[in-house]
């Protein structure tokens, strides 16, 4: 079937953060665009059922029923999988996958994808990140540099709304920022201490995708200021933080150029041997299981890192018997993630006369300082860190009976300051870190299950020890006490930053995508979500995926105009 209702200028697979950006750019430029989403539709505000529920209104006060927890051990390990947002997460039982090595795959199958529940941290990459593989001899050299992406970071930031300070830190370039919330007094104290004691270490405000100042563009989007509720994972009725549902999809729909097709599970991309191009996608309806095909001149693959790998691996043809563009058996290999295993916490004995008041959606951030300017340790690369200081009123629940009641009502005091940092370590993409299709098991839509195999290595273990040593020293210098470190030993995946498998590179022999995210061997297919990543660096990657998508989409638009694809 190739009638008009199934033919578009562009097809975007995935209605999450990066897919939303592709659709928005195409629609803004007048391209008739189909966006396919395997999950249900989620309309901004209308489909946020818990967004205005007060804490005492939840039947289980936030807990997950044990029946759900026991049946779904992977998703139950995710910090945000709680009673208020559990409806946005994929249950293990609904979408199984293979784990030759433990991997906690955290997914959100709906319009908006994981952009509804994301942590909203938005730090740019710098050339210290893009030049990493070439300098340190792993993966392949990135085919782009910061200068290629910088204008697109700005383009995205201005539209999304990023709160931040211009810090002038070369490892974390500044962007188009809205005003920042305060760092609290203990975070400022740590900032000062680090500045006094270290030359190249910085404590800055963690930039995040929240609107703190009203601009015309946000009014046009129908979004309001962030109210600091800190329950963003439910979806925000103010549109205070950015997600695909509040910002990109409605914007694209307003152009009249967007067709949104939810419940559309992409089976594969259709390749035409004659033209040497992809002609469309094959879709299985999630509910009816009916198969349909859609056609377009250009296809953007934004299904989420591992599902984008899966779709390409399942796109088989005579020309590509091992998956679309996979002439060299690279597809699915060199996947990586962020090492989130290590945490450090302590107490701060000072600033007893102060406490934070109100709410904010972020904390402080310490950009990578290890191995930035030269190799200085016995492990490659480094780690960025969160830093937060907290203090709140505490109740005394000693005793029983009237004594307990009296304590709870009459004995409320501010507890001491607690401080903590979490490591966000760069892992090295390796050939044996990979995903592949199961030869026997299929899901209920007839698509092979994905096997996922990646693990920590010696480099990661050394990095954890270094984090413990360096941060213990930094905490001691700041006067923090009762310092304790913890290695969660968690499996890869809980960082929710899986990347790679369809890496970029200049050489078609050693990479899947060119510098514009086009599959070398099938140039009208673009991959611009996390699957394209050649290396993973330390920053939360979503901002980079969005900037890359906007850049690639505009390149595709130019090429379409010139009829080059």
């Amino acid at each position: 079937m190739n009638d008009n209702s199934h033919t578009f200028d562009a097809i975007v697979i995935g209605a999450g953060m990066s897919g939303g950006w592709a659709a928005k750019e195409f629609c803004d430029h007048g391209l008739k665009t189909l966006i396919l989403e395997r999950g249900r539709d989620v309309k901004h505000i209308t489909d946020y059922p818990t967004t205005n529920m007060l804490p005492w209104e939840f039947k289980h006060r936030g807990r997950i029923p044990i029946e759900v927890e026991e049946a779904n051990p992977v998703i139950s390990r995710c910090y945000a999988f709680r009673e208020d947002a559990m409806h946005f997460f994929v249950k293990d039982t609904e979408h199984p996958y293979g784990q030759p090595k433990p991997f906690d795959w955290i997914r959100g199958y709906q319009v908006g994808g994981r952009s509804i529940m994301w942590a909203r941290q938005t730090q740019r990459w710098s050339n210290y990140d893009f030049e990493g593989p070439a300098r340190d001899g792993f993966a392949v050299d990135w085919p782009i540099r910061y200068e290629d992406l910088a204008p697109w970071y700005s383009h995205v930031e201005a539209f999304v709304g990023i709160s931040g300070n211009k810090d002038g830190v070369d490892t974390l370039p500044d962007g188009e920022f809205l005003k920042a919330w305060d760092l609290n007094c203990v975070e400022q104290h740590f900032q000062t201490s680090i500045k006094e004691n270290y030359k190249d270490r910085h404590v800055i405000y963690a930039r995040c995708a929240h609107i703190t100042e009203m601009k015309e563009i946000f009014q046009k989007q129908g979004r309001g200021l962030c109210q600091g509720r800190n329950i963003c994972q439910r979806g925000c009725p103010f549109g205070g933080y950015f997600n695909s549902n509040s910002t990109l999809i409605p914007w694209a729909e307003k152009t009249g150029n967007l067709t949104l097709r939810a419940d559309a599970v992409v089976h594969s991309i259709i390749f035409d041997e004659k033209s040497g191009k992809a002609t469309g996608v094959r879709v299985v309806d999630r509910l009816t299981k009916e198969t349909t095909e859609y056609f377009a001149k250009v296809i953007f693959v934004n299904a989420g890192t591992l599902n984008s790998n899966l779709i390409l691996l399942n796109s088989l043809s005579d020309r590509f018997p091992n998956g679309l563009g996979n002439d060299h058996d690279l597809l699915g290999k060199y996947v990586a993630f962020h090492n989130y295993r290590a945490r450090i916490s302590a107490e701060h004995p000072g600033h007893k006369e102060f406490a934070p008041e109100g709410g904010r959606p972020t904390s402080a951030y310490v950009p990578r300082f290890r191995n930035v300017y030269r190799q200085e340790t016995d492990f490659l690369r480094g780690y960025a860190c969160t830093f937060g200081a907290y203090r709140g009123k505490q109740t005394n629940s000693d005793g029983f009976g009237q004594t307990l009641t009296d304590h709870l009502l009459d004995d409320k005091e501010y507890g001491g300051w607690r401080v903590g940092s979490g490591m966000m370590g760069e892992t090295i993409p390796k050939e044996n870190s990979r995903v592949w299709l199961d030869q026997e098991k299929k899901d209920e839509w007839g698509i092979p299950l994905l096997n996922i195999s990646m693990d920590y290595d010696e480099n990661d273990e050394k990095m954890i020890q270094d984090f413990f040593e360096q941060y213990t020293e930094m905490f001691e210098k700041a006067g923090f006490t009762n310092i304790s470190t913890r290695d969660s030993k968690q499996a890869p995946g809980l960082d929710i930053h899986e990347m790679g498998g369809v890496r970029m590179g200049s050489d078609p022999k050693t990479s899947m995508l060119n510098k514009w995210h086009q599959i070398h061997a099938c140039p009208n297919v673009f991959v611009t979500d996390g699957a394209c990543m050649t290396s993973v660096s330390t920053q939360n990657p979503s901002l980079t995926f969005m900037a890359m998508t906007a850049r690639a989409a505009n390149h595709a638009i130019e090429q379409l105009k010139k009829e080059e694809i």
Partner: protein, 170 residues
């Protein structure tokens, strides 16, 4: 209903009243995983109140405290933990019976303190009883401190703060 049936029912009620405290006349709520006999439910319910006496009209909650605790036990607790909890409740029932204590809500504060002291002293000697009390207390405290009035008035909770002051003087 004829006169004879009415008298018969009154007699049954009379026997019931003689055997159980007034609150035990309530229906025992049905939970698939937490099965309580009528007498056990009465003791459980009284204990949930005695452990943290509060005027519920001043601190209203969406559900009664006993309902909340049973809901969490039933929906969010492992089978093993539920078993241990119910064993602890039985131990408590035995303790009350051995000490000829029928209704917790009619006891003086001094007597209740005696009971609580016994529970606290039994941490090592009677693990089930201690666990029963600890879980009940923890959920009772969560229910009370999570009530709207406690959160907003006692803990200054704000659903829509709309501001952040990093260093507010306290």
């Amino acid at each position: 209903m004829n006169r004879r049936q009415a008298i018969q029912q009154l007699s049954i009620m009379g026997v019931g009243l003689a055997l159980y405290p007034a609150c035990n006349l309530e229906d025992v709520p049905t939970y698939a995983r937490v099965l309580l006999e009528r007498k056990q439910y009465g003791i459980f319910k009284q204990f949930t109140e005695a452990i943290l006496p509060v005027d519920h009209t001043l601190y209203p909650t969406p559900e009664p405290r006993s309902t909340f605790i049973l809901t969490i036990l039933n929906d969010c607790t492992s089978t093993q933990e539920i078993g241990q909890y119910l064993e602890g409740l039985k131990e408590f029932e035995t303790y009350l019976s051995e000490n000829k204590l029928k209704s917790l809500d009619k006891l003086s504060n001094e007597k209740l303190d005696e009971i609580f002291s016994h529970i606290e002293d039994s941490k090592e000697s009677n693990e089930n009883l201690s666990r029963f009390a600890r879980i009940t207390k923890s959920l009772a405290v969560q229910h009370f401190t999570g009530s709207e009035k406690f959160m907003t008035e006692e803990m200054e909770y704000e659903f829509v703060p709309g501001r952040y002051i990093g260093c507010a003087k306290i």
